[in-house]
């Protein structure tokens, strides 16, 4: 008698776990669909409303570009995102260094840095903007601070990971030659993480250009303020102009970043 063995790809526990995930997802969806307060008439009506909206947005009011100060608002948006990125990098570098256990071998400090980085990422840019408007009052200062504080978590985390993957050779050489720790950081660590650093700075700047276009909705400066004003006054042809401007800036930023990245890395 030969023993028949059947081949299965997963163990029983694995299959059960997978099944539990599927079941949980479906149950959650069913409960959500059942209890969420959606008025179905609004959904059926949506295509009509959207076409109506688009019709009111046409033709685009290009004359408002200089008359309503949209050009200045765009420049302000770009400055908020750039300055915010620079500011956040200034704060993210020490935190990233502190989060890397191979540079700062103190578990407690690593933990503090990680905690700061995670909290920065958990709070959305728009929420940061609300908080900083309460602190600094409406305007670009609040927006810059919001962009900066949101980006710390992202930049610090990626920088920390880049620092952890570093090759120890040059550092050991510098240490053996008796270099002070500042020189070790600048000549040993920095050249190894510089490509990653510039890459993530560019990537974050690109994200920040998108984000800084909307923080104006809560009063934190930039093109979002123009959008909010145009929306409140029902000037739909100006809304479409602002949207076009945001779209153009976002696309240009992406093209610029891809171009620079190819040259840099």
């Amino acid at each position: 008698m030969t023993e028949h063995r059947t081949w299965t790809r997963f163990t029983r526990a694995q299959r059960l776990a997978r099944f539990a995930v599927y079941l949980g997802a479906v149950a959650l969806l069913a409960v959500s669909m059942d209890t969420v307060e959606v008025i179905p008439d609004f959904l059926y009506d949506a295509p009509k409303q959207v076409t109506d909206l688009l019709r009111r947005m046409w033709p685009v009011d290009f004359g408002a570009y200089h008359k309503q100060g949209i050009h200045e608002a765009l420049i302000e948006t770009l400055n908020i995102s750039t300055l915010g990125t620079i500011l956040s990098l200034l704060m993210a570098v020490p935190l990233g260094v502190m989060a890397a256990p191979n540079i700062v071998p103190v578990g407690f400090l690593n933990w503090i840095a990680r905690f700061v980085l995670v909290s920065s990422r958990t709070v959305n840019t728009l929420v940061w903007a609300i908080l900083f408007v309460a602190v600094f009052g409406p305007g670009a200062l609040a927006g810059t601070a919001a962009i900066a504080f949101r980006s710390i978590g992202f930049c610090g985390k990626l920088l920390g990971e880049a620092l952890e993957e570093i090759k120890p050779g040059p550092i050991e050489a510098l240490k053996a030659a008796g270099a002070p720790w500042t020189s070790i950081l600048i000549k040993g660590y920095w050249p190894q993480v510089a490509p990653a650093f510039w890459g993530l700075a560019l990537f974050r700047w690109d994200i920040n250009v998108r984000e800084s276009a909307v923080i104006g909705l809560v009063g934190a400066g930039g093109i979002g303020v123009s959008l909010e004003n145009a929306l409140n006054l029902f000037r739909w042809t100006q809304v479409s102009l602002v949207l076009l401007c945001i779209f153009a800036v976002v696309v240009l930023a992406e093209v610029f970043v891809t171009h620079i990245r190819q040259k840099l890395i």
Partner: protein, 261 residues
């Protein structure tokens, strides 16, 4: 041996130094353009201290409203993830250039690109104008956001697969549906689970925010509390949002672990 022959170990990098100088010059210009001054900053610190002191202790009133809104936030995230991911599956497949002819992949790529073109908040504003205030606008917004993200990554994942199993099955005369289920999907399934859990996580984060423009969820209550200077309630809302997101993140990690072993 003369001095010229001694190689400098760390040569001064003049172009680099010029770059740093330009950066400093830009910062000075940007600070003046944005009207950011030291006086405003220190005044803000004083206001900030007052703001923080008013936030604490977090208020415990209106907890019912808070839970209601948190539940709505989660519901928006769940529904929009389900529909967004379900829609981005066929769209991602259609836009994979190694499996589909150009006349099919271009329109699909265009839809995905449009979904990515604007920040979710801008889509939320437009959907609020189109379908009115409430969670429906939020759901539509995040479905769009999910299509833009998952659709793009899914298409890229399919474009990176090995074509050998596909060729083997086509040579054996398998219908297209079988080729998809047995040659394409097994190769991308794990990455697909990764994208989906990431997108759920990101939808949860965004669903806490789109309420600011009236698209349902906790964001609306947060913004209302801010405008009414109800800072201790604002603090409670913030803490609950952070807790919710942390919970979502750990759930996403658990789900990924189930599928990755």
């Amino acid at each position: 041996m003369n001095a010229a022959m001694v190689r400098e170990p760390f040569k001064p990098h003049w172009w680099g130094r010029m770059g740093w100088l330009l950066l400093v010059a830009y910062c000075v210009y940007a600070l003046s353009d944005l009207n950011i001054t030291w006086a405003r900053f220190t005044a803000g610190l004083g206001a900030g201290a007052k703001f923080v002191s008013e936030m604490f202790p977090p208020s415990t009133k209106r907890l019912e409203l808070l839970t209601q809104n948190l539940v709505e936030t989660v519901e928006i995230a769940v529904i929009s993830s389900a529909f967004g991911i379900a829609l981005s599956l066929p769209l991602g497949l259609l836009s994979a250039r190694n499996l589909m002819p150009a006349w099919l992949s271009w329109p699909a790529r265009a839809i995905i690109a449009i979904s990515r073109s604007f920040h979710p908040v801008i889509f939320a504003i437009l959907f609020v104008k189109a379908v009115g205030f409430g969670p429906l606008a939020g759901i539509l917004t995040l479905v769009f956001a999910s299509i833009g993200f998952v659709g793009k990554l899914f298409a890229e994942a399919i474009e990176e697969i090995s074509l050998k199993p596909v060729e083997a099955m086509t040579a054996a005369g398998a219908p297209f549906a079988s080729v998809l289920t047995f040659a394409v999907l097994p190769q991308v399934f794990n990455r697909f689970i990764g994208f989906s859990t990431y997108q759920f996580d990101s939808n949860l984060r965004n669903s806490t925010m789109i309420g600011v423009v009236g698209a349902g969820g906790i964001g609306g209550t947060l913004f209302a509390a801010f405008q009414r200077f109800d800072y201790d309630f604002l603090c409670t809302i913030l803490i609950s949002i952070i807790a919710l997101i942390m919970l979502g993140e750990s759930l996403a990690i658990k789900i990924k672990a189930v599928f990755n072993d």
